[in-house]
């Protein structure tokens, strides 16, 4: 597989398409303010679900960085996403303050319910927004650093790494389901009240989070683009295609992969953190291995190894999912499973590959 070098015209077209798409997205919350009867009115539902998709697109981008460019097929990105979400959830829980059902000044409801006397040490500091944001990036980043360091150092690659990351996700899911983790157990966190002083559940807050996610998407895209176009990105792609050869050329493949993996995990965490206040809940179900592998199929459908493809795939598959799960709920899993089969067998380069034609 050679580094992606699509014809200039296609690349220009895609870039223009992407800019137009982002601009269109940017208008959505504005159009939401129009009266409901207006033909250009965008419903609350569409705004909030598009906000979710933008977060998914960030997750998809992060996974593409790991899989499409570094060849690390991580089945654990759902876990990084959920960890970011939990960090944000902890901040939101702290902000509820005395407004919980039990009215305790400090402890969240579930802790009062479980008989906690004081906040566990790992909850300290989460009342501060900057600290929580730091944790959103650091917790997934540290986990990726440890798992990645141990794996890449022992040259665990390919499917072994995939299974390993899936096992990690599974272990985290089991752990987060426990009540004595002090993280809400089965029910997770919900009933959030405010963020940065703005009450949630208002159209203003929804628009704010929407724009924050959009900005995060654009920034992530630009970071990934800068990175993959740099010399570092070239080496990364070379590692993906022939790791031993690159290593024999004298490159430190372990640290190259590690950097990509950690950055990718941080982006996934960021996506999770933006996702949680928009959906208003985070629970251990987010760690389900299926979520991680679904993210893989977004990248595969869009076209791995191309950043536009990752974003395109996230929107396409999730759009399809939203439509099908309401139109024909029994059919959705067949379609999703079919997508896995069809993409791997017939469309190894995804939708972008389709646009380029069979041979680049």
């Amino acid at each position: 597989m050679s580094p992606p070098s699509p014809p200039t015209r296609l690349r220009l077209g895609l870039r223009a398409g992407l800019i137009i798409f982002v601009l269109l997205l940017g208008f959505m919350p504005v159009l939401n303010l129009l009266p409901a009867a207006h033909p250009l009115h965008v419903s609350d539902f569409l705004v909030s679900i598009t906000g979710k998709w933008i977060c998914y697109a960030i997750l998809s981008l992060s996974l593409d960085l790991a899989w499409g460019y570094a060849g690390i097929l991580s089945l654990g990105h759902g876990a990084f996403f959920a960890l970011g979400g939990y960090a944000m959830g902890m901040h939101l829980m702290r902000l509820i303050g005395p407004r919980g059902v039990y009215g305790h000044p400090v402890l969240p409801d579930f802790m009062v319910f479980l008989g906690y006397q004081e906040l566990p040490w790992y909850w300290l500091g989460f009342d501060s927004f900057p600290f929580a944001m730091l944790m959103v990036l650091l917790v997934p980043g540290m986990l990726a650093l440890v798992v990645g360091f141990l794996s890449f150092r022992s040259r665990i690659t390919g499917v072994y790494l995939s299974i390993l990351t899936q096992a990690m996700t599974f272990a985290l899911m089991l752990a987060f389901f426990r009540n004595d983790m002090g993280l809400g157990g089965n029910n997770g966190f919900t009933d959030f009240k405010e963020l940065l002083g703005f009450p949630l559940n208002t159209s203003g807050a929804r628009a704010g989070l929407f724009y924050a996610s959009l900005v995060a998407l654009v920034l992530s895209f630009l970071i990934c683009m800068r990175l993959t176009r740099s010399k570092y990105g070239r080496v990364l792609t070379a590692i993906r295609d022939a790791e031993s050869r690159v290593r024999f050329l004298g490159y430190d493949t372990t640290s190259h992969k590690l950097f990509a993996f950690v950055l990718s995990a941080m982006l996934a965490g960021l996506a999770g953190a933006l996702y949680v206040p928009q959906v208003g809940i985070i629970n251990p179900g987010e760690f389900s291995p299926t979520n991680s592998i679904e993210a893989v199929i977004w990248v595969a459908v869009g076209g791995r190894g191309t950043l536009v493809g990752a974003v395109l795939g996230a929107f396409t598959v999730n759009g399809l999912k939203t439509w099908l799960t309401s139109a024909a709920p029994d059919l959705w899993l067949f379609v999703l499973g079919g997508l896995f089969v069809a993409v791997t067998l017939f469309l190894p380069k995804g939708l972008i590959g389709l646009m380029k034609g069979r041979k680049p």
Binding site: I156, G158, A167, M168, A175, I297, L333, G337
Partner: protein, 522 residues
């Protein structure tokens, strides 16, 4: 009466019960005439060990024993009044209830316990031993000694011995007490331990011996717990082995990663359900539905495997990551199809009678039969798999293709066919695993999802391509998991095992039984 001998024999037959009657009549002498006489009669009855005295004493205890002026004793029951010794129905006329006072009650309690300990009814003896153990009195010692000497049922003997030892603790002389302590210390019973600890406070003079006895019990209890943990570990290991064995063939030998493996296991479980339903109307075959399900499940999942390999997987050889994603999609579709056809709820599989119940191994180690069967079954399946790979033509061709495809092909082996058969073989083993798992797990569409990660861990931990590694990996992980459970809890134990395997792969990236030589280059 034509024959004098016959007449004599008949007389003898009549006379024998009459003599026994006499013995009990003698014991009954004075019962009901006064409290002291009654108490003495009760004591005599208790000492007689005559089972017929039991209903009589019970009636007395319940105030249902009546006495006529002529001394005949009657028992009043729901059905009517009968004569106490002969059981013939009679009239209640002129009879008065035999009265009790405390002395009689004490005598009664002793006599009843004594007679029950000697009762011909097993359940009664068991209950009496239980009651004597709880009441614990030195007076019971001689009685228990007699009962113990007569007892033949081992379980009741054990209870009686325990009761005897506990009763000896209450004796007044130190020698008997020590005898009791020693006897209790020789058991592995938590009850004996509790009795000893309770007794320790009142007897500081022999505290040392008591502590020794408690320590001995503790040691035996710990041993038993260890044995039970070991069995649970072996049982979990056998489940892991069954689930991982098919994967050891498809992933380990062929190098094809099949994320739909868990779904094949699930299909095997559903085949068991279908076979069971199909045989529902044939009573003769019903108990054999489980053994019959084994070949059926093998064929069903092997056919699915062969279709999947020929139709899909073979186009992706050499691209493991794509194979992983594709098979995951297939698994998702199989799961959804089963959910639509059979519904999302659990399906009930009836265990055959020979698989139910619990087996007590020496040392009071409880072992559930179905787990034991699955353990044996998993080893049989492993043996057959090894035999198929080692000793059959198919196995030979399979190893040839794995080792060097091009050479194998040039020797005339149809490699495509061998690939399909190998994959079908591995998938068929998954189906067999499903039959076994249907006995201990819920048969639902997501039965397989829980096993796939564990199976991969077993294969990777044991060493890809090595069936011996899979065996050791499965039992190793199973036992480690169950050993961790008591102090970490089931969930954390699983997490620890996952982390441990991750760390283990650091040290030995190719697993416990790493392949060497040419096969290792991949």
């Amino acid at each position: 009466m034509k024959h004098p001998l016959l007449a004599f024999l008949l007389l003898l037959a009549l006379a024998l019960p009459a003599r026994a009657q006499d013995a009990i009549s003698a014991a009954l002498e004075g019962l009901g005439t006064g409290f002291n006489q009654t108490a003495e009669a009760v004591d005599r009855l208790g000492a007689s060990g005559d089972p017929r005295a039991l209903p009589l004493l019970r009636a007395l205890n319940n105030g249902r024993l009546l006495r006529r002026a002529d001394g005949t004793l009657l028992i009043r029951a729901e059905a009517g009044v009968t004569e106490a010794l002969t059981g013939t129905p009679t009239e209640v006329a002129e009879a008065t209830a035999v009265r009790l006072n405390n002395r009689v009650r004490v005598a009664l309690r002793g006599a009843l316990g004594r007679l029950q300990l000697l009762s011909p009814d097993q359940a009664e003896r068991q209950a009496a031993a239980e009651a004597v153990f709880r009441s614990r009195s030195a007076d019971n010692v001689p009685l228990l000694e007699t009962a113990l000497a007569r007892e033949t049922v081992p379980a009741i003997r054990a209870r009686m011995a325990l009761a005897l030892a506990a009763s000896r603790l209450m004796a007044s002389n130190a020698a008997d007490k020590l005898l009791g302590v020693t006897a209790l210390g020789a058991t592995a019973s938590p009850e004996a331990r509790a009795v000893l600890l309770e007794f320790r406070g009142a007897n500081p003079d022999i505290a040392g011996q008591i502590d020794e006895a408690v320590a001995a019990i503790d040691q035996r209890l710990a041993l038993r717990r260890a044995a039970e943990t070991l069995f649970q570990g072996l049982s979990l290991g056998s489940v892991l082995l069954l689930a991982a064995l098919g994967l050891a063939v498809t992933f380990g030998v062929m190098g094809v990663i099949n994320m739909a493996h868990g779904e094949f296991v699930m299909l095997g479980a559903y085949t068991t359900f279908i076979v069971q339903e199909a045989l529902r109307d044939i009573p003769a075959l019903q108990p054999w539905s489980l053994p019959l399900a084994v070949p059926a499940a093998f064929l069903v999942t092997a056919a699915c495997g062969a279709a999947m390999e020929r139709g899909l997987i073979r186009h992706l050889y050499g691209r493991p990551l794509e194979t992983l994603l594709m098979t995951f999609g297939v698994g998702m579709m199989i799961q959804q199809a089963v959910r639509l056809v059979f519904g999302a709820q659990n399906r009930e599989i009836i265990s055959p009678a020979w698989m139910q119940g619990t087996l007590m191994l020496p040392g009071d180690i409880a072992v559930t039969q179905n787990r034991l069967w699955i353990l044996a079954f998993s080893l049989i399946v492993l043996g057959l798999t090894v035999a198929a790979i080692r000793f059959t033509r198919f196995g030979l061709e399979m190893r040839a293709v794995t080792q060097k495809r091009a050479i194998a092909a040039s020797m005339g082996i149809r490699t495509g066919r061998v690939d399909a058969l190998t994959f079908a073989f591995g998938s068929g083993i998954a189906g067999i695993a499903g039959v076994a798992l249907s006995q201990i797990d819920n048969v639902s569409p997501n039965l397989g999802t829980g096993y796939i990660i564990d199976s991969f861990l077993v294969v990777v931990f044991g060493g890809v391509g090595s069936l011996a590694g899979t065996l050791v990996g499965a039992f190793g992980l199973g036992i480690i998991n169950k050993m961790l459970e008591p102090w970490a809890g089931a969930v954390l134990a699983k997490v620890f095992v996952l982390v441990a395997v991750m760390l283990f792969i650091q040290r030995k990236p190719r697993g416990l039984f790493a392949q060497k030589g040419r096969a290792a280059e991949a």
